[in-house]
């Protein structure tokens, strides 16, 4: 087992689930702290040295969304929210309020680890101030300088909007980005919430980079939430 130094805070009121997450994380070498209320979690964040938060949205004392808001007032720490599969709206709001990613119950340890790895990678990237000129995901290679996307060394001809969308996905590789984030990033803050135009743009983009748009290799749809550029 590889030893790591990161502490992960699990805010979850169900004891069994909390324990399973701890075991799974410890198997991977992470250290964990547990809180079963929002209040307890928030105070632990202040007193302990925590690197990442796993937050269940259905807590007994506080609304999970409120917890995210409070944390974001003073900290940029990665937050991964855990919620029921059918709670799309909740997930989307949590992400828009500053959560980094989400997991739907029931989730597997493998999924959990993947999300945590992505979250840590983004922290490192953010702190390194490194300006990357190229980035690869699978067969895709994005050249930010030349503003060209290659697939298997062939140039993919993108429209300006498609290029912007692709850049946004690359910058957040592995992480989910909500429809609202994409809309405000590409069409501006006042665009509103009509996702139809985004889906049409996405359909066009997929037809250029995916073998089969209904069996995507790269851009995964999180129904009702947003999109994710697949990592690994």
């Amino acid at each position: 087992m590889n030893e790591r130094t990161e502490y992960i805070l699990i805010i979850e009121d169900d004891h069994q689930i909390s324990r399973f997450i701890s075991y799974a994380l410890e198997l991977e070498g992470y250290k964990t702290k547990n809180a079963n209320t929002a209040q307890g979690g928030l105070s632990m964040l202040v007193t302990e040295k925590i690197s990442l938060v796993l937050l269940d949205l259905g807590l007994p004392d506080f609304d999970g969304l409120e917890v995210i808001k409070r944390i974001r007032e003073w900290s940029e720490i990665p937050i991964i929210v855990i919620s029921a599969r059918d709670a799309d709206k909740e997930k989307a709001i949590a992400l828009d309020q500053g959560a980094d990613d989400f997991l739907s119950k029931p989730f597997s340890a493998v999924e959990l680890m993947a999300r945590i790895r992505v979250a840590f990678r983004h922290v490192i990237r953010k702190n390194s101030f490194e300006m990357r000129t190229t980035q690869t995901v699978g067969e895709l290679l994005m050249d930010f300088d030349k503003r060209i996307l290659f697939k298997s060394s062939q140039e993919v001809h993108l429209t300006p909007l498609e290029y912007q969308l692709m850049v946004l996905l690359f910058k957040n590789v592995g992480k989910v980005i909500t429809n609202r984030m994409i809309l405000s990033e590409i069409w501006g803050h006042n665009y509103g919430t009509d996702t139809q135009v985004l889906r049409t743009l996405m359909a066009g983009l997929r037809r250029k980079i995916e073998e089969n748009p209904a069996k995507p290799q790269y851009i995964i749809t999180e129904i009702g939430v947003g999109y994710r550029l697949k990592d690994e």
Partner: protein, 504 residues
């Protein structure tokens, strides 16, 4: 009857004529002119017409009065012969005016009698309707109808009613005078058959005339009037009986509707209670199942590290079962929500390839050993749907396909637009084992268990397909399942209409 009238008429005639003649003599003695005597006689005729119930008696009395006048007051006195021919005119005028008066009087009397009878009928019907309005059940309706009708007809009346489920009862309330009894219908089957096949307004047996009381759609009851020899119902009574039947039908129908409504409400309440219970149980099951899934997964990881095959296999068994239970619970939750009509309304335009893509992604994460081929239209296809529910449909169908196939088998998912019908068609085929013919018609039934052996995992088809059907129907689409040609696999086909009101 006639005799009594004649006796009464004669007595009246003799009495009044005596009084008039005495008064006439008095006038004559006092030396009053003869005209006064004629006037007195005219008055007498009017009085007699008033008293006499019979028109003929009135006319006879009029002629008699003229003759009496002739006998006592015209010369030669005390004979019926007349010397002065001018009296003939007097007699004729007297006779005619008497007949006229008599006719008018008896007409007025007849009208008065008619009006009185009609008033009575109206009062009876009014009373009936009034009481029926307050009646709360069919028993009190029977009592009210039999009491009112029997007092009006002055004979016995019975009423048979149907029970809540519309079946004619075998006994009925019978009222005659003040006595009220519960009687059994003799030879019920024959009675029922006669009523059912009746073409005329009533059915007459040896003892009863039976009038069926029909509602808008069905028989509500039967009114029974006993047949009394020599006492036949007249026209008026017949009409009234029909009015009674009308009012009774209205009242019984009202009661029936009220009862039905309360039964419906009861059923709906039970249904709601059951689905609430089911939902809360399912909801509570989700969390422990999620934790069982997670914990076994951790244990599986550990077993892999220690390389213990037995542990690993046992744990994977637990994991699979827990996973199956979890899906079952999710299906129950959707089903209860659908039953309450909560989910039907959340349709939005969705890009089909995204929904399918998300399902394939989710599905192949757990079940990567099947080769899933997916085909969607080249042109992006937007279809009105509740994406979460359609995801569940696809997952359930793919799950079934998975169960019926072996490793490396192919599952084909093909979506296209049927422009002629303006609907999206989704076909999911697998080349695995086919489904027994005897099971095919039952696959969409709740909790149907296939008898087929050798199906991996659960033999129970359980909730998967019924839920798919409920979801697809809620979208206004169709779903069917059939074996492929040569029994080489199964195809599930479902459609979603393209034009549906969109909820924004």
């Amino acid at each position: 009857m006639v005799k009594r009238l004649m006796v009464k008429g004669t007595l009246t005639f003799v009495g009044i004529m005596s009084v008039s003649t005495v008064v006439g003599y008095l006038f004559k003695v006092l030396g009053f002119p003869e005209t006064n005597i004629v006037i007195v006689y005219l008055l007498a005729i009017q009085v007699m017409a008033w008293i006499n119930e019979n028109f003929i008696m009135g006319i006879l009395s009029s002629i008699g009065a003229t003759l009496t006048f002739n006998y006592f007051f015209t010369e030669p006195y005390l004979t019926l012969s007349v010397h002065d021919p001018s009296y003939i005119i007097t007699f004729i005028i007297m006779t005619f005016s008497s007949i006229l008066t008599s006719t008018l009087t008896s007409q007025v009397k007849r009208n008065a009698a008619l009006a009185k009878a009609r008033e009575k009928e109206t009062a009876v019907l009014y009373n009936l309707t009034n009481q029926l309005t307050d009646a709360m059940d069919s028993k009190s309706i029977s009592e009210i109808v039999t009491r009112n009708l029997s007092s009006f007809l002055t004979r016995g009346v019975g009423l048979v009613v149907c029970n809540e489920s519309g079946v004619l009862q075998h006994h009925f309330i019978y009222q005659e005078g003040a006595t009220k009894v519960n009687r059994e219908i003799e030879d019920f089957d024959n009675f029922y058959e006669s009523i059912r096949s009746l073409r005329s307004p009533y059915y007459a047996s040896e003892t009863f005339m039976d009038y069926p009381i029909n509602g808008r759609t069905e028989l509500l009851g039967v009114l029974r009037i006993p047949i009394i020899p020599g006492n036949v119902l007249d026209q008026k009574q017949q009409v009234l009986i029909h009015s009674f039947i009308e009012s009774t039908a209205l009242a019984l129908e009202r009661i029936r509707i009220t009862e039905q409504r309360s039964i419906d409400r009861e059923v709906a309440n039970q249904e709601r209670f059951r689905s609430t219970l089911l939902r809360s149980i399912s909801h509570d099951l989700r969390t422990p199942l999620a934790s069982i899934l997670g914990n076994t997964e951790v244990l599986i990881q550990m077993a892999k590290v220690t390389d213990s095959e037995v542990f690993k296999n046992t744990l994977e068994g637990i994991h699979d079962e827990a996973n199956w239970l979890y899906h079952m619970v999710e299906n129950i939750l959707s089903f209860t929500k659908l039953q309450e009509g909560k989910l039907a309304a959340r349709k939005q335009l969705e890009l089909v390839e995204e929904v399918v893509g998300s399902v394939i992604e989710r599905f192949s994460k757990n079940t990567s050993t099947r080769n899933i081929e997916v085909k969607v239209p080249e042109e992006p296809l937007y279809v009105p749907m509740d994406a979460k529910l359609i995801e569940q449909v696809l997952i359930n169908i793919l799950d079934n396909a998975h169960k019926h196939t072996e490793e490396k088998d192919t599952i084909q998912l093909n979506i296209y637009l049927d422009e002629s019908k303006n609907e999206m068609v989704c076909s999911i085929r697998n080349d695995g084992s086919s489904i027994a013919k005897s099971d095919l018609p039952h696959l969409f039934e709740l909790f149907y268990s296939a008898q087929k052996q050798g199906v991996k995992g659960k033999n129970n088809f359980g909730l998967g397909l019924p839920i798919c059907q409920a979801i697809i129907h809620a979208h206004g689409g169709t779903i069917q399942l059939h074996n492929l040609e040569d029994e080489k696999g199964v195809e599930v086909l479902f459609t979603l209409p393209m034009e549906v009101e969109i909820d924004e």
